[in-house]
Each structure stands twice: as structure tokens, then as C-alpha cells.
Symmetry: C2
Subunit: 111 residues, 2 copies
Amino acid sequence: MKPKLKVWVVFGDGVKLGDGRAQLLELINELGSIKKAVARFGMSYRNAWGYLRELEKAAGFKILERTPGGGPRSGTRLTEAGKQFLKQYWRFRQGADEAIGRHFAKSFKKG
Amino acid sequence: MKPKLKVWVVFGDGVKLGDGRAQLLELINELGSIKKAVARFGMSYRNAWGYLRELEKAAGFKILERTPGGGPRSGTRLTEAGKQFLKQYWRFRQGADEAIGRHFAKSFKKG
């Protein structure tokens, strides 16, 4: 018997970010393109675009930025604030399993 | 910004129990009837029955028992082992939000 959990970060107005959407942001950054990222995710561009706009509005800072030109860093990438936020999200995510695992063991011990 | 979480207890063979199913078990016990409980839950009797059999097999102990007759404790109720298990589940569930809340605050502090 073991615990399973799903976590999200919820912004004041109900916009959520969980593993799937965090991975989408990472993939956009890696490929430099929302379009390529959503194609690999099997998500519609329209849905992704709507979500990303909502997310930036809820977060109160720009998460993605577009750099024109053909250089290696051109295209749509994470802003510094976006990178920082995702770093904190993964820190939260990685420790969450451990925190719940400890709590689970305590809850289900005899008595 | 705040965390949101869903938790389940997963048995060795993949059978899961989360808030919804824990509430179903409580409701069966309260009403003394699987049939009445599923009706209130908007779940099919067939699905509930299949799940309950799987759950008992995975848990390795009887969770529900049927007492015939018309007395106040007759009908389908939780066994002592079933009550004990649910008590531990709710203990786990109630503390999980707090454990994740603390971990969230630590993960998202500056730096």
C-alpha cells in the first residue's frame, strides 16, 4: 500500500499549473516554438494559447518571450521570471512525494 | 498562489482509494445499503459492486459485511477492519493538505 498524489499550483483567480502544463512550458522553451510544442503534446494551439495568456495574467509576470531572427536563441522562450517560477515548481513537485510519503507512513502505522 | 492536491491510497495491484470512494464507503455504512448509497452518488450499482470486490481483494480483508434482519444495525455496514482503515485514510487525508502547505511555502520562498 502506498500513496499517490497529484499537485497543482493555483493562482488567485483559479488558473492552475500542474505537471502537464509545466512540461509544456519546458518543451516550448526547448523547441523555441509554441506550435511545435503543442504538436508534440497533442494539444490544440488555440487551447494552449488561451491557457498561456490566462497563466501570465494570473501570475502577473511574463513567462514567455519571443525573440525574432534566426539565431540559436530566437523563437519563443521562457523569460528569466518564467525560468525561476518553473524551477520553484519542480522543487515543490519533487519534494511533495517525499512529504506525502512521510505523512502516509505516520498515518497508516498501527493504532 | 496556493497548492492544490489530490491523494489516493494505492494497493499493490493498482486498486486505488481516494476521497470519493472513501465517502462512498462511509455512505454505505450510514445508509446500511450499497444500493441506496450508489443512488445518492450517481454511480451504477454494477460499477460500485465491481470496485468493492476489487478493493477487498486488494486490501486482503473484508471491508463491508451484511447483517440480515430488520434491526437498526442490519444491512451492509463497515467491518471493524473497514472502520479502522477508513479512520487511517481520513487521518492521512486531513494531514496531507497541511504537509503540502508547509512544503509549498518552503519551495516558493524567494531565491
